[in-house]
């Protein structure tokens, strides 16, 4: 299973196809033996993730759930899986790709009505199941998410293998203010040259634009990665590659609320839904800049009160194995104590340049990044 093994990111199309067909053959053999067809998948909940000491990331534990044809739902799932396997195999054979949403609509055209998906969550989940069971990443199935990837701005020169040929791009000089758009499969990128000191991942578009406008990337030689909320796999993969291949420290700058801590968590530790890919996506060395609850107190930032759902989320994070360290325990308890949260933009209450002139330099110095 993928959790026990290094997922080969460079699996070629033929290999991916074979892995899928092997999975179909497993079901075939189960039928042939008079057995009940089934597939086992690790339980994807926070209670079933364990810390992988070697890789320093969180991966799935031993708990598995079984999708088995001995229930009506299980039988339907397996039928859908079989049809999806056929679709993916054909797509790989033809060298095409499609989006997750396209898969959902495409199922409408299948003649077997019971194999069609009821909603996109179902098709997304099934693709994740197949990733795990077939040990092939979604990207290697040539499935991509709907949303285009986030952007990068900074002193980085790279070469991208596009469908229309190779492109060499400098992420400050060759791009507009919007920056360089991360492709769905960042493994098609080759880093040519860089002049960067570190990588700054920013949650919100507003803050990213502020940093670019203030020329923060130029002043501090920083590659600014826009996360666009919960980061897409491509964004996380690229961040990891910037860290691993270029040896750049990574810091994460988000809002000061429980949902933003999870954004940091998925960059640093891997997300619960894709823990099978943590080794490939997570950057365990990534550090959290802020906004920390401590900052709310220290800088006397304008705040909103915590909603009930925020409190629940914070309490749930106290139980989350990914947040079990002194820093997070202290910060979350402080936040529960003050009952407040703040956005990145709250820093503007001290002036538009406060973030680039004061807050970030102070924080980054504290963290030994500067």
């Amino acid at each position: 299973m993928s959790t026990d093994r290094d997922t080969d990111a460079d699996l070629n199309e033929e290999e991916a196809r074979e892995q899928l067909i092997d999975l179909a053959a497993q079901f075939y053999d189960q039928f042939a033996d008079g057995d009940v067809p089934r597939m086992e998948i690790p339980t994807r909940t926070k209670s079933n993730i364990v810390f992988d000491e070697e890789e320093n990331v969180w991966v799935y534990g031993d708990r598995h759930s079984t999708r088995s044809a001995n229930s009506v739902n299980g039988a339907r799932k397996l039928l859908k899986a079989t049809y999806t396997i056929e679709f993916l195999a054909k797509q790989l054979e033809a060298g095409r790709s499609s989006t997750l949403r396209e898969l959902y609509y495409l199922s409408e055209s299948w003649d077997e009505e019971r194999a069609q998906f009821n909603d996109q969550d179902e098709s997304n989940q099934l693709v994740e199941d197949l990733e795990i069971v077939a040990e092939v990443t979604r990207e290697d199935f040539h499935m991509r998410p709907e949303e285009s990837g986030a952007t990068v701005m900074g002193p980085l020169y790279l070469r991208e293998q596009t469908r229309r040929g190779e492109r060499e791009i400098h992420c400050q000089k060759d791009v507009g203010e919007g920056g360089y758009q991360i492709p769905n499969n960042p493994d098609t990128i080759e880093f040519l040259e860089d002049d960067a000191d570190f990588v700054l991942c920013v949650e919100t578009g507003g803050m990213r634009d502020r940093l670019v406008e203030n020329g923060f990337d130029e002043e501090y030689n920083v590659i600014v990665v826009h996360l666009k909320g919960q980061p897409a796999r491509a964004t996380r993969r690229l961040t990891k590659r910037l860290h691993d291949e270029l040896g750049l420290p990574v810091v994460v700058f988000t809002d000061g609320d429980p949902w933003s801590y999870r954004i940091y968590g998925s960059v640093a530790y891997g997300s619960i839904k894709s823990a099978h890919l943590s080794e490939y996506l997570a950057t365990p060395e990534a550090e959290f800049v802020g906004i920390r609850p401590q900052d709310i107190v220290d800088y006397d930032l304008p705040t909103d009160p915590l909603a009930d759902s925020d409190v629940n989320a914070l309490e749930s994070e106290l139980d989350d194995p990914r947040f079990q360290d002194d820093f997070w325990t202290e910060q979350i308890e402080l936040q529960l104590d003050i009952g407040k949260k703040a956005e990145q933009q709250a820093l503007a209450s001290r002036g538009l340049d406060f973030v680039t002139d004061t807050y970030l330099p102070e924080r980054l110095e504290e963290m030994d990044v500067l």
Binding site: I21, A69, S71
Partner: protein, 798 residues
């Protein structure tokens, strides 16, 4: 048992007896009486009149045949003749003679069955005669009766009218007639009627067929015809007649019985005319009757030595003209005997004086005449009662709470003692009511003058204390004839009978339908998927034993629109009116049918299912809400039995429904999965580029099914029975082969028309496989069938 004038109000609660009604109607014509009491008799509308007439005639027909141990064959025809409706009811009973005709059909309120302690249909109405009268009053036509007895010969034809002045039936025509039935009776009535109560009529006939599975009933009405065949040849058991139970008679009945009995004494009457009354019980009733009739005598404590009253001196003084020795001895003996008793009532003092007088007379050879004895007794009684106030104090003090003020107790006791002292009846003889009146008067006075309070409970307690202390008098119980002439005395006797503990009546007098036949009846008339029935043990209400039965039919062809159909019966007679007033309906509504797997919106009320509920109350006296006898009264004992019977049957329904639901779920699941898996297998073969797949084995395993598979290898044939379930199965497996498999050790082999039937009965434990092997020569065709395993759980792959 003697026959009495029938009684209309029996059990109905009104207490109005037929006798009383009849007394009231002697001055008016029978027609007028009928007119006034129509609704009571079930003839309140033209529509209902027809139902009632059919009901009376059919009940009569069924009773007549059953009494003669003949399986009933009843024919009912209703014909619209323009002005009137004609009703014809025929039975195959023993037939009746000319003498019986007026009695059976003509005499209003005739019939022995009104008072008979036996379960029978006739209780239900006032009889066919009412229908005859109704027909005569509305159409002016006589009742036409044809009857043929088993003795052979021709049938007789009669025309019968009732003289409305005298209430006497008259036979106007009596002639020989020919009739195809070997024996039986036919009655034809013409009356004003309509078919607006068609549904009730149909219900009545159909329900009668359900509850009388031994009867064959044919029914024709202007718009429809039905035939109900019999489902059993078993006649209902004959019921034993029992004498009435003392707790179950009404005053009117008691008076009639007193009038008619041959007994002289009440004790003899009780033992002779009632069930469960022996000498001891009779004595108990008589004592209780004495207490009510004569009252009791309050007993007082005789004076002790230090007290002022001296019985010896008093008696000595009272005796005159006797020798001084005898007088002294007599007085001493009386005083001694009196002192020996803890308490004495007047009658006991008299007894002491009488017996002492006899002893002393013998010893001294002197006679103590009546006058002397009376005087002596009076003197002794006066001495005994001298300290009555002290006795009263003790009783009042004992009966009231300790918190009562002593002065208040003293005041009440003194007043009571005075009341007894000044009582007209110097013997201090009181009934309980009089005693209570004494206490009330004394207590009222105490409240008024002593500023004390005596509440109702205190008064009742004091009354009880005195009543306990009082003695039943030795007076002769009045004779039967004296009581018969004295309504009040009879009422006291009835009270005494009810107050005495008496064994419950025997239950042999009841004929429940039985669980088997309730089920058979439902099975006959309702094509359902499931039937259950329950017959409870006999219970007693008042003086009457009763049995409740319930039946349920569910599913199948039973209508699925709306409420369940509720069939109500009393003594095998369907109740089709006044559903809302019936105890049976109340009970059904209160049961939580959801517990039994039925659909009951809100958890109360009539459930909403394709089901039929049957309730039968059999009793020597079914309590109805009214004289028209359409609804069973809400008697807690009976309601509780109805509920228990329904629940008993419903428990079976529940387990059936549970099983059915789980099989249904299994079937649905099987259908879905059995649909999906082949699709999946086909796609898998396509994707992997391999051979097409067979999914039966996987399917059987998924369904926890039993899979039967055949493999043929040369001449060896193997049938494998895989049991994927978690419980063992045993089934019967029959393989039909077109070639001779030879003899076989484990299977039985039978050859029929060139086919060989091999039959096994393997038992396969959970998760095990049984292999059935045999040999055939040459080519053969095979066909396997399995019995004893539900189709839902069976997969045959052979």
């Amino acid at each position: 048992m003697t026959s009495f004038q029938s009684q209309l109000g029996e059990g109905g609660g009104s207490g109005a007896t037929a006798e009383e009604l009849a007394e009231g109607q002697r001055s008016i014509s029978i027609a007028e009486f009928f007119e006034k009491n129509k609704q009571m008799l079930g003839f309140d509308s033209d529509a209902k009149a027809l139902v009632t007439a059919v009901k009376e005639a059919v009940d009569n027909a069924l009773d007549a045949t059953e009494e003669a141990s003949i399986l009933p064959d009843v024919y009912v025809e209703i014909e619209d003749r323009g002005d009137y409706y004609r009703l014809v009811v025929e039975d195959n009973g023993p037939g009746i003679t000319r003498e019986q005709v007026p009695k059976v059909f003509g005499k209003l309120l005739y019939g022995s069955r009104f008072h008979v302690r036996e379960q029978n249909r006739g209780q239900q109405g006032i009889g066919i005669s009412a229908a005859v009268l109704y027909a005569q009053l509305t159409s002016g036509k006589p009742a036409k009766v044809t009857s043929k007895t088993e003795t052979g010969g021709d049938a007789r034809y009669f025309e019968l009218t009732i003289d409305t002045d005298t209430n006497e039936p008259e036979i106007d025509v009596d002639e020989s007639a020919s009739w195809e039935r070997p024996h039986g009776t036919r009655i034809e009535l013409e009356m004003e009627a309509n078919m607006r109560a068609r549904r009730q009529l149909h219900d009545y006939i159909q329900y009668t067929a359900v509850v009388n599975p031994h009867a064959r009933i044919e029914f024709h009405e202007p718009a429809d015809s039905f035939k109900f065949e019999r489902a059993t040849d078993e006649l209902p058991p004959e019921t034993e007649e029992i004498r009435p139970h003392p707790h179950g008679v009404e005053l009117g009945t008691l008076l009639k019985m007193l009038d008619a009995t041959d007994s002289y004494s009440i004790s003899g009457f009780l033992q002779g005319e009632f069930t469960r009354v022996g000498a001891k019980t009779a004595e108990g009733v008589c004592d209780s009757f004495r207490d009510r009739h004569f009252g009791r005598e309050v007993a007082w404590r005789p004076p002790e030595a230090h007290e002022e009253a001296d019985p010896e001196a008093a008696v000595r003084e009272a005796v005159a003209n006797k020798s001084s020795e005898a007088t002294a001895a007599f007085a001493a003996a009386v005083a001694e005997a009196v002192a020996a008793e803890e308490r004495l009532a007047h009658s006991e003092v008299v007894a002491v004086v009488d017996s002492t007088a006899a002893d002393v007379a013998e010893e001294f050879d002197e006679t103590f005449g009546e006058t002397v004895r009376e005087k002596a007794a009076a003197a002794a009684w006066s001495a005994v009662t001298d300290e009555r106030a002290a006795d009263c104090y003790e009783l009042v003090d004992g009966a009231t709470t300790t918190r009562k003020d002593d002065a208040a107790v003293e005041g009440l006791a003194t007043r009571l003692a005075e009341t007894f002292g000044s009582q007209d009846d110097g013997r201090n003889r009181v009934t309980r009511e009089e005693l209570r009146a004494f206490v009330d008067r004394a207590a009222d006075a105490a409240e008024e003058y002593d500023d004390a309070t005596f509440g109702d409970t205190a008064r009742e307690n004091v009354t009880d204390a005195f009543w306990e202390r009082a003695r039943t008098v030795p007076d002769e119980v009045p004779s039967v004839s004296a009581v018969a002439d004295d309504r009040d005395a009879a009422a006291r006797l009835l009270e005494a009978m009810r107050a005495t503990d008496i064994l419950s009546p025997p239950t042999g007098c009841l004929a429940p339908i039985s669980e088997e036949l309730v089920e058979a009846g439902l099975r006959k008339e309702y094509d359902a998927d499931f039937y259950a029935a329950a017959t409870r043990d006999a219970e007693v209400h008042g003086g009457d034993p009763f049995v409740v039965e319930a039946g349920i039919a569910y599913g199948g062809d039973i209508d699925d629109d709306g409420d369940v159909e509720l069939l109500r019966f009393a003594n095998r007679v369907p109740l089709v009116y006044q559903r809302g007033a019936c105890a049976t309906v109340d009970v059904v509504k209160e049961i939580n049918w959801r517990n039994y797997g039925l659909d009951q919106p809100g958890g109360t009320g009539i459930p909403n299912d394709p089901a039929v509920l049957l309730i039968h109350v059999a009793s020597t006296n079914v309590p109805f809400t009214s004289e028209s006898k359409d609804a069973v009264a809400n008697i807690p004992e009976i309601e509780s039995e109805i509920e228990l019977a329904l629940r008993e049957a419903a428990r079976e329904l529940k387990s059936y429904l549970n099983k059915r639901r789980s099989l249904e779920k299994r079937r649905r699941k099987q259908n879905v999965i059995a649909d999906i898996l082949p699709e999946m297998a086909e796609k898998l073969a396509e994707v992997t580029g391999r051979e097409p797949l067979d999914v039966d084995d996987s399917l059987a395993r998924i369904m926890n099914n039993v899979l039967v598979e055949r493999t043929v290898d040369g001449s060896t044939v193997e049938l494998s029975v895989h049991n994927y379930d978690d419980t063992g199965v045993s089934g019967e497996i029959t393989e039909i082969v077109t070639a001779d498999p030879g003899d076989h050790e484990e299977a039985t082999v039978v050859e029929m028309d060139g086919e060989w039937f091999l039959k096994w009965a393997p038992e396969v434990a959970a998760g095990e496989t049984a292999t059935l092997r045999y040999e055939v020569d040459g080519d053969a065709e095979f066909d396997v069938s399995v019995e004893g395993i539900e189709a839902e759980r069976l997969t045959i792959d052979a």
